[in-house]
Structures are given as C-alpha cells and as structure tokens.
Symmetry: C2
Subunit: 372 residues, 2 copies
C-alpha cells in the first residue's frame, strides 16, 4: 500500500489540471477570445431569430473529456446560431439585449478572483462597490441615501424583494391575507403575480384597475375603489404602478398615485424595470416626476443600461421592513460589526451566495461614463 504522502502526491498531480499553467491559460484564452471576436464581427449578419431545436446530443455530456475546440464548435452551432440574437442590431423586439464588451470583461474578472459579495466582512470592496452602484441609483431616482437596495439577477427577484417588504411592513399574513387588497394595472408585468404566489399571497385580492386612453391607470377611479373596499371591511395595503409597461411603454400617473397612497396609508411600489433608466435622458426625465414618492422601486440595468442578462435592482426606503424576512436575526454579533459601515447584500435579498454582479455594471459605467 502507498503511504498517505505518496497518495497525496498522486492526487496533487491529477488535481493540477484544474489549475492550468500560464501557457495553458493563454491557449484557452486565445480560443475564447477568437470566438468572441468572430461573434462580434459577424453579429450584424446573423438573423435576429432562428426557430430551430437544439441537438441535445451536442450539448449533453458524459464523464469523458473534450477539447475546448470541440466544445466551442457545439456551442456555436447549437447555442449561438439558434433562437434569438439579443446582441444583434436586428433584434428590435423589447429593449436591446446586451453587447457591452466591458461587462463581459467584468464577469471574467469576477469569476477569476471569485470575490464573495454577500457579506461586507468577506469582501469589503465588492460589497462597497455594489452599494455605491445602488447609491448612484438612489441619486438619479431621488431616493434618500438611507434607503436600502440590492443588485438582483433581474426584475423578477427585485419585485419579489419589494413585495416581501411591503407584506412584512403591513403584516399581511395568515387569516389577514384573504381580506387584503392590492391595486394594479392589467398591464403590470406578470412577474408581479408570480412573486405574489411565491411569497404566500396567492389568495390576496388583486384589483385590476381601469386604464385611460393612454393605457395609464385611471386615478380618479383608484381612489374611489379603495374607499369602497375600506367601507366593505377589506384591507387595502398596496398600489403597484409601472414606469414603462412592457406592452405599451405607458408610465402611470406617478405623482397622483403617490398622493393617493399617502392619503390612504398604503405601500407604493413602482416597477420601472422596463422604463426606469430613461430618466437619464433630458427629454424624458420629466415623465418620471413622482417616482421619488415610491416606497419601493425596481429598475433593470440589464435593460436600460444594455448590460448582459442577469442584473436587476431594487430600492426600498424602509430598511426595517426589508430586514424582517431577509436579515438573519440570530447573527447579532457579526452584523453589529458591519451594519455601521455597509449594508450586507445578503440582508436585502433571498440570496446568500450569488454572482458578484456588481463588477459587470461598475466597469462599463466607469469606462463609458454616464454622459455622452
């Protein structure tokens, strides 16, 4: 029998493969870079959509090893050349889909360094970077600096976090659920309805509001229906508006809805995933008047900032409401240390570990700047 030392030596050699040498890395990198360059130089010629099933056999794997060359060939034929090409200029549906090269470099660096961006103590720099990005968004939407926020994987989780905070603030749970009422437009994104089911509000009353001729919420009717619900012993608790609906682009009357929610003491949620970043343009800025009245706001950098899929954002004014479900309360000591310095992303999200997605946003924003 080999000694333990000898065994370790053998295993070390085998595991070495997972740490390629400089030369091996350069060779892998060169192939991937050539692939990316070929893709970017030819993207204009790709059709925006190819309706064709992927060949499963080319994407499955068994225990054996394959060369990168072979894998890239299959990736190209089955993944890249089929379905939608969101990075292509021909893709006119919805918002454009990515293509920011510096974001891809950010993702590469994030994976190489593998920072843990969930808790401040583990990576003060990564967490500070993500919080600074959130601070910037607070500034452009006129949210107070004390608001908390999170970089999510997209608009759906961002909406889920906001709705959870609203639910917790108003303690909508158990037998109170069926009497409680949420008001929103029939044009609200379906992820709102999905989030409600996920967070246990499947049986809440959802009032689909009447729209005006521009597909915006009719606010006169909104106040009336809330009053009626109150009279009937129901429990109105939240109005959800959209700043840019997916189907029509309509921005609901944000200021008026803000007044109504204040009058009736309701949570005011605005889903601006689709349209929010148009606030950065001179000509459309004024359409967002009143967005600062929201208790919670969702915006999607992977839409309005053209970043690759996988980065949304939520801003919420009431930190206590957010922490109720997301903060791990038994962890007193460790958190006491860090709360003063920076908010932990893990306390504002269902995620504990997560992709360090701040870098893919920070790098392009810094390199290209906000203004032209």
């Amino acid at each position: 029998m080999d000694s333990l030392e000898e065994k370790i030596e053998v295993l070390q050699k085998i595991s070495q493969e997972l740490e390629p040498s400089f030369k091996e890395r350069e060779s892998l990198n060169e192939q991937v870079r050539a692939f990316a360059n070929h893709f970017l130089e030819n993207i204009e010629t790709y059709p925006a959509y190819v309706e064709e099933d992927a060949v499963i056999e080319k994407l499955t794997f068994n225990s054996g090893k394959k060369t990168l060359k072979e894998l890239l060939t299959n990736f190209n034929s089955e993944v890249v050349l089929k379905g939608i090409k969101p990075a292509s200029g021909k893709h006119l549906g919805y918002v454009p889909g990515g293509g920011i090269y510096t974001a891809a470099l950010g993702d590469f660096l994030a994976s190489v360094t593998n920072e843990y961006a969930g808790m401040y103590y583990a990576s003060p720099g990564a967490v500070t970077m993500e919080n600074e990005l959130l601070n910037w968004m607070k500034k452009i939407f006129n949210f107070p600096k004390e608001a908390v926020g999170n970089l999510t994987s997209g608009g759906s989780i961002a909406n889920l976090i906001a709705l959870t905070a609203a639910r917790d603030k108003y303690q909508i749970k158990n037998d109170k659920i069926q009497k409680s009422v949420i008001y929103l437009s029939p044009q609200a994104h379906h992820c709102i309805h999905k989030a409600l089911r996920i967070i246990g509000l499947e049986d809440i009353k959802v009032r689909l509001l009447e729209l005006d001729e521009f597909s915006k919420i009719n606010t006169a009717k909104l106040a009336k229906i809330i009053q009626e619900d109150l009279k009937n012993g129901l429990n109105p608790f939240m109005v959800i508006a959209s700043a840019g609906t997916t189907d029509t682009g309509a921005i609901d009357p944000l200021s008026t809805i803000g007044e109504i929610t204040k009058n009736f003491n309701l949570w005011y949620h605005i889903d601006a995933a689709y349209g929010g970043f148009f606030i950065l343009t001179e000509s459309k800025k004024k359409l967002f008047k009143g967005i600062e009245l929201a208790d919670s706001l969702v915006i999607d950098p992977h839409k309005g900032l053209f970043l690759p899929y996988g980065i949304g954002a939520v801003l919420i004014k009431d930190k206590k409401a957010v922490f109720h479900s997301h903060h791990y309360t038994a962890d007193y000591m460790q958190d006491a240390n860090t709360v003063a310095a920076q908010i932990n992303p893990a306390d504002v999200s269902p995620e504990l570990t997560k992709h360090y997605r701040g870098l893919r946003m920070w790098l392009p924003l810094q390199i290209h700047g906000i203004e032209p």
Copy 2:
C-alpha cells in the same frame, strides 16, 4: 435645427463607443488578461484574509470617464487585496471557493453572446445545456428523469424553490399555516429559516429535532414527535434533512428519514448544498444512501465543484407542485409549444431573466471530465 438624419448620425458616433473596435477590444482584453494572470500567479502569496475597510472614494463613481488601467488599480487595492481570498490555497474555512479558470471563460462568453436562458424559444441551446446539466445531477443522485430542476444563484434560492413547492403541494396557506409543522435539525442551514419567512411561513411551527452523538437527527424521536403532533390536531407536513451540515459536516440518516416521511405522507427535503457532490467519490458514495428518496434536493456546484460563486441547483420530483407558483399560467399557447421539448427555467424559478449560468458549469465539466 438639424434634420433627424443629422441628429441620428451624431448620436451614432457617440454610441459607437459602446461597440469598441477589434483593436480597442484587444487592448481592453489584454489589460484584463494581464490582471488575471498576475492574480493567479500570485494568489499563493496573498493572505487568506485581510480585515480592512474598503476606501469608498476609490469605488464610487461620478458621471465622468475613467481608464481601465485606473479602474483595475482601484479594483486591486480595494477589492482583491481586502477581505477573504477564497481562490487562495490558504483559505481553509468551509469549502474552497472557486478558481476554475474555464468557468471564468464561460462567464465571459455568456456575457458576450448574451443568450437568454430563461425560456426555450429564446435560446433552445442555452436552455438545453442547462437542462442537460440538471439531467446529469438527476443521474448521480438517482432522481427520476421526469423530475424538474433549476440552476439557481446559490443554495438559498434553491432551498426557497424547494420549500415553495412543498408548501404548494400541501396547500399550507392562510389559516392553515399556524397549525402546520416542519421538522429539522438545529444544524440546518439558516437559509432554510430565511426562506420560510420569505415564502410566507413565518408563523409555521418549526420543531428543532434532537441530535445523536454524531450531530445527526435522532430518528426514533422524530417518528414519536410527529405522532404526538398529529394527536394534538396539528398538521405535520415536511421533514428537512441535511446531507452535510455546514458546521459539522454531518449527514442525517437519509434512508430512515425517508421511510418516516413516506409513512406519514410528508414532503421530504434534503439540503445537500454543502456535502452533495461528495457522492462522486468512491469512498463517500455510500454515505448518501437514501438521498434518492427525497422529494426535493439542493446541491451547490459553487461548493463541491469549485465553481465561482453564483451557481446552485435544485431537483424536485413533483413538477406540478413546482409549477403552481412559478409557472406563468396565463401564457398557455407559447408554453404548449415548448413543454414537450424542454422545461423552461423560468417555470421552475422566481427568476425570469437571469445570468446564463449554465455555461460556467458546462465548460469546465466537459473540459476536465468527471473522472480523474
């Protein structure tokens, strides 16, 4: 006033910056590659942990533009050189944290091509790839091929998806919540408790079970307490076991707990985020006997497969239970088309858009193989 054509021409020139030329890309790429190489060649010399706050001013940004060189300098001093270095060999706490170079190349490619991996029709290849990875995991854990699964951002969202399915299958909602009971070890990961709050089960009864001398659930007592709860008119509905707890590495008696859950008709959830992939080793395989009895199972490729943070997985046998909250049911027509071919990730997850995280797992698994 300029004509519209002239205005567009001016804007086109400005926006060109977002699409760097081949030469510009190569220059950016070269700097990032040099940074990554320097990091990987020196990681052995970095301390495993540096307790030092990040300098906010170096990470914040205003509207101006900065050079990549300047940004990488700040990234290095504030992010890379502070906090935990999980990719370092000196980082002995918990499981090792990443450092698989081919995963980083996968993330780079995913961001450049920006495939939308949420729905089959948008990227049949990306979705097929993710489903094939899930099929592989079904195979190694002896789950049926009909089980559904999802590549999540980590163990927390994976657990949340599983618990949501359990809740929906047993219709634990409204006034039924406070009478219902979940059984788990005091060693269960805190993300389970967090997930319960998020999905609206804050007031459910949670029984922390007695452990034996090896920190495993005492199964004799488990059966007894379930019977007592039933006698007292309560509603036992789920047992949560761990296959590798974070603190002690204990694997609960999976087979025996499986029998008990079948006898009492309870949902059986196993959190194997921490220990699951040890099933791939000859010597530890037998410890996982019974894991195939679970109704839902969580495993974390960013732990046992050393992938970068941001990739977990969940497998669930009852597709209907999962779809209840996550599938967007009004979308009949489009889904009818695709259900036959492949499950849409968006129907098994709170996420709609998300990072195309399959590629960072597929590329390394294929290149390095499963067996040494």
